[in-house]
Symmetry: C2
Subunit: 213 residues, 2 copies
DNA sequence: GTTTTTCCTTGATCTTGGTCAAGGAAATCC
DNA sequence: GGATTTCCTTGACCAAGATCAAGGAAAAAC
């Protein structure tokens, strides 16, 4: 999930087809050959895995600024899950041939970079999953979100309050923990005066202290 | 870790520089800009993370058939760890410019595919780490290794015995479990008559039964 | 504004897998 | 060959986090 602020890079100008997708639309089916990938400018798409028994499991949600199925496209794979539009979308659709048969080296450089950064992000995630506990993973996540921390964490205290970007249960899933544990850890951090919760928003009281907790 | 049986694809003919690396050689340093990536035809390279306190942690080992630092190269990143040759190597070294400034679209297609497949592998690993327990992860690993299972698992019983490809502790690390747990789970599977251990080799008695255990 | 859903929180309990410590088996080195 | 080191196994114990169940809060529907 890499964000460009919903703006496509110049290298792709002239490529792709802009489409509006209505809520409920089935963008692609599970096991279909992956011929298109998408850049999501607005809206939300859910990836759902259909088990042979018929039940659906939601793998993840794609939101504004994310790419969808780009790795599948270049791996010449099939879609491993189906994609359903859960909030009306504005996307740019790219077809395999359009990209691979394009001789413009800026285009391939762009996708090489995109995939490479994705690899690094996935690697980091694996590292965190195997080396950190639930609490530390959540702390890292909060620090990454906190505006004042990304800004270099200047002072001791940070008065900035920011909203959770997704439902808490979705964040929990992303971190590989249960909603219950997520809730408990947040509470614990609040008890230690590291954060302050208020409804659907959160304030990191001290990035520094939080980081080395 | 993608294997081509230590043979480079035709698309890269003429590119890269073959090098022999003696044991103990420092291939690249941590935090250095990633200007080269390597295809390892033979030998072994260890990636070690240096902590600020001076201690070294081994992240992984690169062996024959693996690529090294390819994602870092295209992400224009620095090397996140240092690389030490632990067994004399035969490698092919590729420089950034050599690849990015090459207009041959077969070359970029190749690396796009390489990175894309790597993304899919990493994704699968994350999925397994978050959804499966230690035992199931080990079972999946064994099935992937077992020759008769990859061959379509024809009969009920498989008489094929095969060696562990690495030290057990290395496999354990790869699976995200401790050597102790690894050992215990193997023993447990043996007690259930699903596998048979003998020194450094293993026999899967029934892929089918193992899979649905 | 009330009802109904959905989402979140909290507590009690249990399972999994990690840690620590010690003994045994291989491999390596003189 | 014996000695040493490295690697693996096993047991006892512990802790992190999952699960189950129930209550509360917020949002959506009417």
């Amino acid at each position: 999930m890499e964000s460009f602020g919903t703006v496509l890079p110049a290298a792709l100008k002239g490529l792709g087809k802009r489409r509006s997708l209505p809520t409920g639309m089935l963008l692609f089916l599970q096991d279909e050959p992956a011929e298109n990938c998408y850049y999501v400018e607005a809206g939300e798409i859910a990836l759902r895995l259909l088990s042979p028994t018929g039940s659906e499991v939601e793998l993840t949600k794609i939101t504004a600024g994310d790419w969808c199925a780009e790795a599948l496209l270049f791996a010449e794979s099939t879609y491993p899950a189906q994609a359903i539009v859960t909030q009306a979308c504005q996307v740019v659709q790219f077809h395999r041939d359009e990209i691979l048969k394009n001789s413009n080296s800026e285009v391939s450089s762009f996708f090489l970079g995109l995939l490479a950064r994705k690899c690094l992000r996935l690697n980091k995630r694996i590292e965190q999953l195997t080396t950190l506990g639930a609490r530390d993973r959540l702390v890292q996540y909060l620090l990454k979100l906190c505006p004042s921390h990304s800004a270099g964490c200047p002072g001791k205290l940070t008065n900035c309050r920011f909203p959770f970007p997704k439902k808490k249960r979705e964040i929990a899933q992303e971190l590989g923990i249960t909603p219950e544990t997520f809730s408990r850890v947040l509470r614990q951090l609040e008890d230690e005066n590291l954060i302050q919760l208020e409804g659907t928003s959160i304030q990191v009281i001290s990035c520094e202290r939080l980081q080395q907790s």
